[in-house]
Amino acid sequence: MSRRVYLDHNASTPVHPDVVAAMLPYFQERFGNPSSVHTFGREARDGMEVARGRMSDFLRVSKEEIVFTSGGTESDNLAVKGVALARGGGHIVTSQIEHHAVLRACQFLEGQGFEVTYLPVDGDGLVSPDDVRRAIRPDTILVTIMHANSEVGTIQPVEAIGPMVRERGIPFHVDAVQTFGKVPVDLARFGIDLLSFSSHKIYGPKGVAGLYIRKGTKMVAVQHGGEHERRRRAGTENVAGIVGFGRAVEIRGREMEAEAARLTGLRHRFWAGVSASVPEVRLNGHPTRRLPGTLNMCFRHVESESVVLGLDLKGVAVSAGSACTSGSVEPSYVLVAMGVPVDWAMGSVRASLGRGTTEADIDYVLEVLSPLVRRIRELSPASVA
C-alpha cells in the first residue's frame, strides 16, 4: 500500500516546509539562551520577539499580552489554574465537552476547594449562552468555554457568551486550540480575556503554544522558576519552536480564508459520498457552525476502531474519537454529552481535512470506506440478530 491519505489534522499536522526552514537557523547559529545578555542571547531573543509580534498582529493584541507555553494543554492549565489560584477560591463555569486539559484542571481545582459547574450541551454540541448566564453566581471567578470541539467540530457561541460574562466582570477563557488559524477569532468582539492557541494544529511544530492574557487580568504563574515571559511562565523558551510557530501563524494569516472555503467544499463532498454509499450512518455536530474540515460520523453497529484499523491498512488515517483520549475504549464523552445513543456512539469516526487534502483523496477514501464498513458489519452478531 503506497497511497497515504492523512485525514487526522485535528490530532496533528505536518510542519509546513517554510516553517522548518524558519526554524533551522535557531538550532545551530542563533542557538543562544534568550535570557542571555550577549549577542548570542540577543539573536535568539530577537527571533522570539518577531514571532511574538506575529501572534499579536494576527490576534490584534499587544505583544505583552502573549505568553508562550509548551502546548495547548499547558496553555489551558495556565489559564484555568492561573486565574483560579490567584483568587484562592470560588466558582468556575465550564462545559461537559471541554478538552481534558480544561476538565482535569477544573477537577484538580475542585480538590483544592473550588466549585465547578459543568454545563451540558444540546444535540448539536452547543453550549447555551442562557445556561452560562444562569450558572454564574456572585462568587464565579472564571468562565471557560472552548471555541470548537476537536471531536465534532461544533463552534460555540462565544460571541454571545463573552460579552455577557465580561459585563459581569468575570474573566472569560476560550480554548481556541482547534480554531486558531482556521476560523476568525475576534478577541474584542467575543469579549475574551484569555485564549489558548497552539502550533502543531496549524502546520507548526509540536511543543509550543500560546496563551493570550488580556492586560489587567489577575493571575499567577503555574510553572515556577526564572523570570521568563514576564514572570508568567518560567523556563528557557523553546526558541526554534516559537520562531516556527510565528512563521506558521503568518502563513495562516494569508491562507486561512481560502483554505476554509476549500475544506468546507471537500467536507461536503465527503459526507455526500458517505451518506450515499453507507447505510445507517449519522453526522455529528452542528450542521453549519463547525470547523471547515472536521467531519464526525457514526456508523451504527460498528466499532469505530475497527474502521480506523481497516482504513489504516488502506493507507488512510482517521481517528476514533479524539486522538488524545485513544488508548481508552469508552464511547466519547463528547458524543455521550450530546445525547448520541451508545450503539451509535461506539461507531464514531472523525475525519479532519487539511492543507494537503485533495478531491482525489476524498474519492479514494469513499471507495474503500463503504466495503470496509459492510465487511465489519457482516462479522458482527448485531447484523444478523
Partner: protein, 134 residues
C-alpha cells in the same frame, strides 16, 4: 497501535467468520469496558471441534483474535477448550498491546462458554471427565 503482522492478517482476512445454523454449542462473552462482543459456534464430532465460526463486534484486535481463536479451536477436544486461557489467544495473534488485552479475554471467554454449552447440551459429563485425561 503496534499490531503484529499475524493480527493484521487475521483482521484483513478473517477465517471462519459468520453464523452457523444448528450448532452443537454456542457461547458469548462481552467486555463491558467497550461493549466488545464475541460469539462462537461449535460443531462437535467425537468430542472434537469439527467446525467453528464466529461473529464479533469490536475493535480490530478483537476481530482478529476471534479469527485466530477459530483456528486454534479447530480440531481440538472440546474439553480442552474449557480451560482455554487468554494467553493462548494472545500468542495466536503474536501479542496484543496492553490497552487491547481485552480482545484475548473476550475471545477466550466466548470459546470456553461455547465449549461448556456443547458439553451441557450433550449432557455427557462422563465424556467430559474422560477427555480431561486425554
Amino acid at each position: 497501535m503496534n499490531y503484529s503482522q499475524i493480527l493484521i492478517d487475521h483482521f484483513r482476512r478473517p477465517r471462519n467468520a459468520g453464523m452457523m445454523r444448528h450448532p452443537d454449542g454456542v457461547g458469548e462473552e462481552s467486555f463491558d469496558g467497550c461493549g466488545d462482543l464475541a460469539r462462537f459456534y461449535l460443531r462437535v464430532v467425537d468430542g472434537r471441534v469439527a467446525e467453528v465460526r464466529f461473529q464479533t463486534y469490536g475493535c480490530g484486535p478483537t476481530i482478529a483474535a476471534s479469527s485466530a481463536g477459530t483456528e486454534l479451536a479447530s480440531g481440538r477436544p472440546v474439553t480442552e477448550l474449557l480451560t482455554l486461557g487468554e494467553a493462548e489467544i494472545t500468542e495466536a495473534v503474536d501479542g496484543l498491546p496492553a490497552e487491547r488485552a481485552h480482545a484475548a479475554q473476550v475471545v477466550a471467554g466466548a470459546l470456553r462458554a461455547a465449549a461448556r454449552d456443547s458439553l451441557t447440551r450433550r449432557g455427557s459429563p462422563s465424556q467430559a471427565k474422560e477427555s480431561e485425561h486425554v
